[in-house]
Amino acid sequence: MIGTRLAALGGVALVGALSLTACGSDDNGGGSGKPAASGDCVKSTVNAAGSSAQANAMSEWIKGYQQSCAGANVNYNASGSGAGVQAFTGGQVAFAGSDSALKPEEHGPADARCKTGKALDLPMVGGPIAIIYNLKGVDNLQLTPATIAGIFAGKIKTWNDPALAKDNSGVKLPATPIKPLHRSDDSGTTDNLTKFLLATAPDAWKFPGGKTFPAAAGGQGLKGSDGVSTGIKQGDGTIGYAELSYATNGKLQTAKVQNGAGDFSEVSSDAASKAIAGAQVSGQGNDLALTLDYKAKDGYPVVLVTYEIACEKGLPKEQADFVKSFLTYTSSQQGQSILSGLGYAPLPDSILTKVQAAVKGLS
């Protein structure tokens, strides 16, 4: 404890000295609307860590940022959301990526790290979670949330179960046993899927929502979205869940999921953006923690949103300028537009404008 405090003090002293010597030259970071225009470009390196779900987006963003700001760099370590929050609270990284907003018990220590300001949850990228399956002869599977819950809870055991037949009238379903696969590692994907099931099918899903897939629900756990999608490919009758890019890259079948309006929606970046538009901000002020509306009337309802956790105030100046400039880029139209090609969902305008305003307030 004393050691880290000393190190932090040393770091503050060092950065303070550096920014004193650099005084006057980098004082033009005053949030021009243009992303990473040469004017507010901060040529330094900043460390960040956290969610692996946004790792691909982050690496594209870093590339994009560097095009207009050569010499700037972000070292993003995709160590997982929990580790990212821990590193942020411990002062090892300038900002963290996390698949869930700070919990009440995490907020205090995170605020303390930011000294004069508060720690903010800034939604930065959304994504659809595809329900992927492998069943010979069935191409257009349609699922209601209750059926998904029944399958993952081990209640629906064969593909010709009446519940499935009802969702897919006119489709000939085989009597193959269903083999549900889930993540064996803790994950934001599991967190959002179980929260979706809790919200939409509480009668069929009797387990808590969380990052760990409930062992009592049964099924087979595989490591990472990569493991799950590989498993789907290898077995007939399997069903699982993964971020859309894994389904696209692995050429896997994806199921349509029923949304709040009763329509079966195909999974896509656009459809996910529409569903995210229904989210409510539950944080205070510029803290934009979201409560997702899993019963959204529009679009594809199984979605996740991952956040950047950053200090509103209180970082050493150079770091603060860099974080502000970088997040200005990621939340710009240009930054968001590269996401759909990667299987992510750009934030809908209603939320994006709030994020942009919050980023403008960083200092």
Binding site: G80, S81, G82, K179, T212, G218, T230, G231, Q234, G235
Partner: protein, 325 residues
């Protein structure tokens, strides 16, 4: 002959304690101090690890609402933390012991072949290749296991289930053959080089006179190995196997990638199931909250203790066997 050389060795080894350590000259004194210092440093490092693990684990253990030793659930970040190590300990020991059973005969076969059967040129090349196996990073084994080996194991599993499903070990289905048996085979390949290269070194130490004496009596090459080589190398082979077991117990990422998890304890080695200490830590540490981290460190402490016990057992076995030779 054998007992003579060994006795000499033993007196040399044990005599050190009785004899004066130093002649009193500067070089000797410095060497004595640095050697003793290294020994003490090692003890301090081990103690520091143990203290760290205990200190980090205690808060989580206090919060645990389930029995840490007998519970099979692992849900430390829930509002009411519940976690226990039974399933982890079971999976760790089962997969490691199976790996040991698979690897030891093969490794000793390789070592015997290199030491006594193969032509000189081939022997050095083969020894080099086996040692190279140890240099392959374990994540590479994981990738190879996941992409290449797992699909192959699916047909092995189907065959075993179809023909020997009545044996309680088999029966049960796993998507893509990702089972505790698959993990054990991958582990076996990973611990092969350790066991094989130590056994090989031990076999090279067999006194030439013993071998020649047996040959002079008219023994065949197999009889020479049985009468002169294996008894001489027994303690060496045991300690080699134990080192291998130690590696298998602690192996992390390859197991995490190859093993598919399921709830509960089961002896059916072809079903998805089991989890190991190390794989669980690798799988869940990144997302774990505070209590989760403490719980994982507590499970690491248990692994530490298990490894310690295995090593102590190995030493005991080696020490006992020595007297019989």
């Amino acid at each position: 002959m054998t007992s003579d050389t060994l006795e000499q060795g033993a007196t040399r080894a044990r005599g050190g304690r009785g004899r004066k350590l130093s002649t009193g000259r500067l070089g000797d004194r410095l060497f004595g101090i640095s050697a003793r210092g290294s020994g003490i440093l090692l003890l301090l490092i081990i103690a520091a690890i143990a203290v760290f693990l205990v200190a980090k684990a205690l808060p989580a253990l206090k919060a645990d609402k389930a029995n840490f030793l007998t519970s099979q659930v692992w849900n430390p970040d829930a509002a009411e933390p519940r976690f226990g190590i039974l399933q982890l300990a079971f999976g760790t020991l089962l997969s490691s012991l199976m790996a040991l059973l698979l690897a030891t005969p093969v490794a000793i076969g390789i070592a015997l072949f290199i030491a006594f059967y193969s032509p000189r040129k081939l022997a050095s090349g083969l020894g080099y290749v086996v040692d190279l196996l140890a240099a392959v990073p374990s994540v590479v084994y994981g990738l190879w296991g996941l992409q290449f080996f797992v699909p192959k194991m699916a047909s092995v599993a189907n065959f075993l289930n179809g023909n020997f499903g009545w044996i309680p070990l088999f029966g049960g289905d796993s998507v893509g053959g990702q089972s505790i048996l698959t993990a054990a085979v991958v582990l076996a390949i990973m611990i092969l080089p350790i066991i094989s290269s130590i056994s090989r070194e031990v076999f090279f130490q067999v006194p030439q006179a013993n071998v020649e004496a047996a040959l002079a009596l008219g023994a065949t090459r197999w009889e020479v190995i049985r009468m002169a080589v294996l008894p001489f190398g027994r303690s060496g082979m045991v300690s080699a196997a134990m080192l291998g077991l130690g590696r298998a117990l602690g192996e992390t990422i390859a197991v995490a990638m190859v093993l598919s998890t399921a709830a509960g304890i089961s002896l059916r080695i072809l079903k998805p199931g089991g989890n190991t200490f190390a794989a669980n830590i690798a799988n869940t540490f990144g997302m774990a909250g505070n209590t989760g981290r403490g719980a994982l460190i507590a499970s690491g402490l248990v692994l530490f203790v298990i490894t310690l016990i295995v090593n102590m057992l190995a030493r005991a076995i080696v020490a006992r066997r020595k007297e019989f030779v």
